[in-house]
Symmetry: C2
Subunit: 309 residues, 2 copies
C-alpha cells in the first residue's frame, strides 16, 4: 500500500517573552518519518538507525497520536513507521514533537487528508503526553503550521499562525541534561505584577514586530523578565553567549523550550553563522560537547518529501 | 498673534488584557482647547464655561506640559489657553490627558510643528503627573497618535501605534467616584504565573486581531484574568452590563482606565447603540446617574479644528 516520508523539523518553544504561547519552526535538524499505510489495524514502529525508541505504540511519541487517530477512523487501516531520529531527545528543540507531528502529517497524507491542521495538532499532543506527561501544543503547533505560531489558549485550543519574517535561527545544544520537570519546578508560581506588565509589553511588541516585519521592534521586544533569569542558571555559558551573540549582530534570543539549547535570531545567514561560531567557541572553551545548527525559519512546517505508491 | 482650537478627545487606557500597555482613542467626548501664541513668556489659563480648573500653569494639566515645552524653546513666546472642559475629571476616560495632549498639539502647531509626536507625548506626560502624581503615557499616547496604541515600555519610552480597525466604542460613565489611588491600592502586587500566561496569550491574540482586522480573534482575546476580577468590584452593575452587552453583540470590553467608566467595542454603529441602551438601562434601574457616549475609534487623535491668524 501507499507510503511516504515526512520531513519533521525541530521547533523552538517559549520564544523569549512568549513563554508557553509562542514558538517557531526550524528547518534543521529534522526527523524523517517513513510511514506506510497497511490494512492490519496495527501500528508497527521501528527505529531506522539503531537509536533506542519504544516500539510499543502507546509508549512512543509517534505511535500514541496514531492510536488516537485510528480510533476516530471508520476504516480498517494500520501504519508501519520507520523513524530516522535526528533530533536528540532532551535537547529542548522539540524532538518528541517532531516525531509526533511527522507521523500524523504523513498518516493524514496517506489517508487523503481527512483532518485539518488543528485536528492534527490535537492528535500530535498525545505524543507530548507520552514524552512529558502533559498534553501541550508548544512544539507541535509550530511544527505543523510552520513559521511562528501563537497558542492563545490551550483549553479550548486556539492556535493562530502568525506571519514569519525571513529570519535565520542559530541553535546550540550543549550536551548537558536539563530535565523538563526540573526546569518547571524552579519557576516561581507567583510573579510580580510589575514584571508581568513589562513582559506583556514585550509580547505585544514582539507580535507587532513579527506581523509588521519590523526587525528593530522584534529585537527590542526579545526580553524575558520572568522565566529566563531563573532557568538560565541551569545552562552554563548562557549569559556570555547571549551578550556576545547580540554584540555580533543577533536580534536576540534565549532558551529554547525548557533548555538546554539556546537559540538566536539574525537577519542574515552570515550573521547567523557568526553567531553559531560564538556558540561553538564558548562551549569548546567550557569543555562541553555540543551540536549546533543554522537554518531559516521554516514557513511550511512538516513536509511530505517522498511518495511511493 | 496666531491662535487655534484643538479638538482633544477622551481615551480608553488599560484595554482589557492590555493593562498599562494598550489604549485607544475615542472620538467623543472631547475637550476643546483654544490656544493663542503670545510674546510674553507667560502661560495664562482660563476655564471657558465656569468649570473650576487650577489657573496656576504648574498645577494645571494643560499648563505643566507647556511650561516644560517653553523651557526647551529658545524664543520668547507664551500661550493663552481657554479650556472648554467637556470630559469630566475622574471619569476614567482620560480627562487630564485630553487637556494635556490638546494643549501640546495646539502649541506645537502654532510654533510650526518643531516637535514630533513622541516628544509631544513626553511633554503631555507632565500633565499626567499633575493629575495623578505619576508620569504615564496610557492616555496621552492614544490621544496624540489616535487609533490603538501600544506602550511597550515607559523607560525608555517606546510607543508603537497599531492599526485601528473600524470599531465603535460605547462608553458609560456612572456618576460615582473611583479614586485612581484606591483602584491601584487594591491590586495584588504578586500574581499567579498561570494567570499571567493566560493574559499574555490574550494580549498576543488581541494585537494580532487588531493588526489582521480579525474581529472574532479580537473578541476571543478581550479577557482579563488579572485586573478586572479585582477592580470590577468597585463598579456597581459591571458584570451585568458586560454580560448583557456581549449578548447584544458587543465584541467585548471592560473597565476604562481605572474606572468607573465601562467601555464596549462593537462592529457596527447599530450594535454600539444597542449596547449603549443596555448601559443606560442598567444604571437607570440601579438609580445611578450616568453619561454615555458612542463613537468610532478616532484614528488621527487630537486634531486642529479652527485656525485664526
Amino acid at each position: 500500500m501507499k507510503a511516504c516520508i515526512a520531513y519533521a523539523p525541530g521547533t523552538v518553544a517559549n520564544l523569549v517573552c512568549g513563554f508557553d504561547i509562542l514558538g517557531l519552526c526550524l528547518d534543521s535538524p529534522a526527523d524523517k518519518m517513513e510511514v506506510r499505510l497497511t490494512d492490519t489495524s496495527e501500528i508497527v514502529i521501528k527505529s531506522a538507525d539503531g537509536y533506542p525508541l519504544p516500539e510499543d505504540p502507546a509508549l512512543n511519541t509517534a505511535g500514541a497520536p496514531l492510536l488516537e487517530m485510528l480510533a476516530d477512523l471508520e476504516k480498517k487501516v494500520g501504519f508501519e513507521i520507520l523513524i530516522h531520529k535526528r533530533i536528540k531527545p532532551g535537547s529542548g528543540i522539540g524532538s518528541s514533537a517532531a516525531s509526533a507531528a511527522g507521523a500524523v502529517v504523513a498518516a493524514n497524507y496517506l489517508l487523503g487528508n481527512p483532518f485539518d491542521k488543528v485536528q492534527l495538532i490535537q492528535y500530535a499532543m498525545a505524543g507530548e503526553k507520552v514524552a512529558s506527561g502533559v498534553k501541550h501544543a508548544d512544539n507541535v503547533a509550530p511544527c505543523i503550521f510552520g513559521g511562528i505560531t501563537l497558542i492563545r489558549s490551550i483549553a479550548p485550543l486556539d492556535i493562530i499562525p502568525l506571519a514569519a519574517p525571513d529570519l535565520y535561527v542559530s541553535v546550540v545544544h550543549p550536551q548537558i541534561e536539563v530535565k523538563t520537570a526540573d526546569a518547571r519546578a524552579i519557576l516561581r508560581q507567583q510573579i510580580p505584577l510589575k514584571n508581568a506588565i513589562k513582559q506583556w509589553g514585550n509580547i505585544a511588541g514582539l507580535v507587532t514586530g513579527i506581523l509588521k516585519n519590523d526587525l528593530a521592534l522584534i529585537s527590542r521586544s526579545l526580553e524575558d523578565h520572568i522565566i529566563e533569569p531563573i532557568r538560565s542558571t541551569l545552562i552554563p555559558g548562557f549569559q556570555q553567549i547571549k551578550n556576545n551573540c547580540k554584540q555580533a549582530g543577533a536580534l536576540g534570543g534565549g532558551i529554547s523550550g525548557s533548555g538546554p539549547s539556546i537559540f538566536m535570531l539574525s537577519s542574515s545567514r552570515s550573521i547567523a553563522e557568526g553567531v553559531e561560531k560564538i556558540m561553538q567557541q564558548t562551549y569548546t572553551e567550557l569543555g562541553i560537547d555540543y551540536h549546533s545548527y543554522v537554518s531559516m525559519i521554516n514557513k511550511e512546517g512538516v513536509r511530505i518529501e517522498e511518495v511511493e505508491n
